[in-house]
Amino acid sequence: MNTAFHPADLAGIQVRPSRLWTQSLGWILFAVGIALYAQFSIARHKENPEDRVVPSAQQLIQGIKSAALESAEEDDPVDANAPLIERFSHSMLWKDTLSSSKRFLIALVLLIPAILLGLHMAVFPYFGALCLRFVTFFDKIVALSLLPILFIVFGIEEWSKIALMVIGVAPTLILDTFNIAKGVPREQIVKAFTLKSSDIDVTYRIVLKQVLPQIINSVRLNLKPLALFLFAGEMIAATDGLAYRIALMRRHMGMDIILPYVLWVALLLFLADAILRFTNRRLHPWYQPL
């Protein structure tokens, strides 16, 4: 048998990369991205050592330090000799993260009724008939176009931004839950009724329990749209928050702050997704995704 390695095999559908290959390949694009950035930055700094558009590694480290250990311009300065934890807890990054996370979590909690609405629409035919067309239409409304209305109704404080996030994501989540719940085999529902289940039992103990892993996956997919609406709201009207800071730094060409903030937001979303994925796996060991 010829077991010699052929480069053409790498592109085949039927090949199975080893664990080492899989792990290594997963980091290659990161390395390429960093290398390209570094080269680009070095080239720009050769032309202009004070360049702020593509900050160097030193500028980035300085930017991260000032974001994570120094307070915002609008706040009282922190003692430079204070312990790191204290400096971080009074820092601009921490303050902005807390503000944005609070809005994000409130919006997530307010999306629970949307999930329940979709579930009820799928399970109760008359209720589904009442709501489906309206929700499908509502889903087509561009949420950002409602922002002026939200500012008029809620003012420019917290609730307008939270409402934007909820209004932006809720219709998708309702329809997604509706479709997922509709996918529960009819046999399961019939079987449950023959086993003396009530309507409430069927809705919550049969359908919801079965579709919860898929709903959590749907929420995972909606984390980014949720962050997108949060950023839109914060960039337009806010006095703190991650997006507010990015918008503020844009005015000063503060790329040394903007880039760490962008990566920090990505890391936070990655962590939120990982927590949901882990929770899903632990809570639903029976779930077998296709």
Binding site: P185, R186, E187, Q188, V190, K191, A192, F193, T194, L195, K196, S197, S198, I200, D201, I206, K209, Q210, H284, P285, W286, Y287, Q288
Partner: protein
């Protein structure tokens, strides 16, 4: 329990009269468990007008009977089962189960479908205990100590029932996806039977199984039925299975819209082979004769589901 055998013959091709099954048991005053009176099912087919699926079905199924519904795809046997279940409603006539008209799906009937028969989010034991727990208490009732005592007793009963079905103790903590198709159907039958329903409905419950699993499940189902004699309605398109299991056979044919007065029921009668011990049934000459006849009657317009009569030495459907 069973009257003198009547060999199936083309004479039975005429629409079965209302009491086609009942007379065999009339002298024993058997209670009628399921009754269908002039039942018809039709639906609107757009420009083509109305499409009739079932017409003029008159059936009376006595308690304790093992009834097999046989017929080719589209003849309405699953629709008939869904009427008994309460999942569908007739456009004409009435369906009565356990003395009451069927208005919705309820626990008068146990149900074993071909697939998706178990709740995937519950272990085997939880699946089997689900029904009796519901029957015992609502959500608040589960908080009382008496419920937990009941649950302990129920657990023992469920374990016994599953053991009877051939499951090992280690299987009982598994989720349905960890079981084979045959094992899942064993659990589904145990789940339905633990509710002790007067009527057990099985919709092509063994169709997706391999022949040997199917054969062992047929034997198991038959022995359970022989022990406790629930009324069983079993839908299949497998003639051998029908002749092996059924004490009563109902063969449905496709309804033709140009003959609105004619019933779908082609044959409705008790099976003579039902008198024989289960293992010997398929070896009888009657069995082979009936098999051949039913193949001709039930699958007149389609050869898709035709099966060969089983070999002399085995009863594999």
């Amino acid at each position: 329990m069973v009257s003198a055998p009547v060999t199936l013959s083309p004479a039975h091709l005429a629409p079965a009269p209302a009491a086609a099954i009942a007379p065999a048991r009339a002298t024993e005053a058997a209670r009628v468990e399921i009754s269908l009176r002039k039942v018809g099912v039709a639906y609107s087919a757009g420009k083509e007008g109305t499409k009739t699926v079932l017409a003029n079905i008159d059936l009376e199924i006595p308690a304790g009977e093992f009834v097999v519904l046989l017929g080719e795809t589209g003849c309405g046997k699953s629709t008939l089962l869904r009427l008994m279940l309460g999942q569908e409603f007739p456009t004409s006539g009435e369906v009565i189960v356990d003395g009451k008209p069927v208005k919705r799906i309820d626990s008068r009937t146990g149900y074993v479908p071909q697939k998706y028969s178990l709740f995937p989010d519950r272990t085997v034991l939880e699946n089997v205990m689900y029904g009796p727990e519901n029957a015992r208490a609502g959500l608040l009732g589960r908080l009382t100590p008496s419920f937990w005592r009941f649950r302990r007793e129920l657990r023992e009963e469920a374990i016994q029932s599953l053991t009877r079905m051939g499951l090992r103790p280690q299987d009982m903590k598994k989720y349905p996806y960890q079981l084979s198709g045959g094992m899942q159907q064993r659990v589904a039958i145990a789940q339905a039977l633990l509710m002790k329903p007067p009527v057990l409905l099985l919709d092509e419950a063994f169709s997706a199984l391999d022949p040997s699993t199917r054969s062992s499940l047929q034997e198991l189902l038959h022995s359970i039925w022989a022990e406790s004699r629930p009324t069983v309605v079993f839908v299949t398109h497998n003639t051998t299975e029908a002749l092996l299991l059924g004490t009563t056979l109902i063969v449905l044919g496709r309804h033709r819209d140009e003959e609105p007065e004619k019933s779908n029921v082609l044959v409705a009668q008790q099976l003579p082979t039902a008198q024989l011990p289960f293992a010997q049934r398929c070896n009888s000459a009657e069995f082979r004769e009936q098999h051949e006849f039913l193949e001709r009657v039930a699958f007149a317009s389609s050869s898709r589901y035709r099966t060969q009569p089983p070999a002399q030495e085995g009863c594999h459907a």
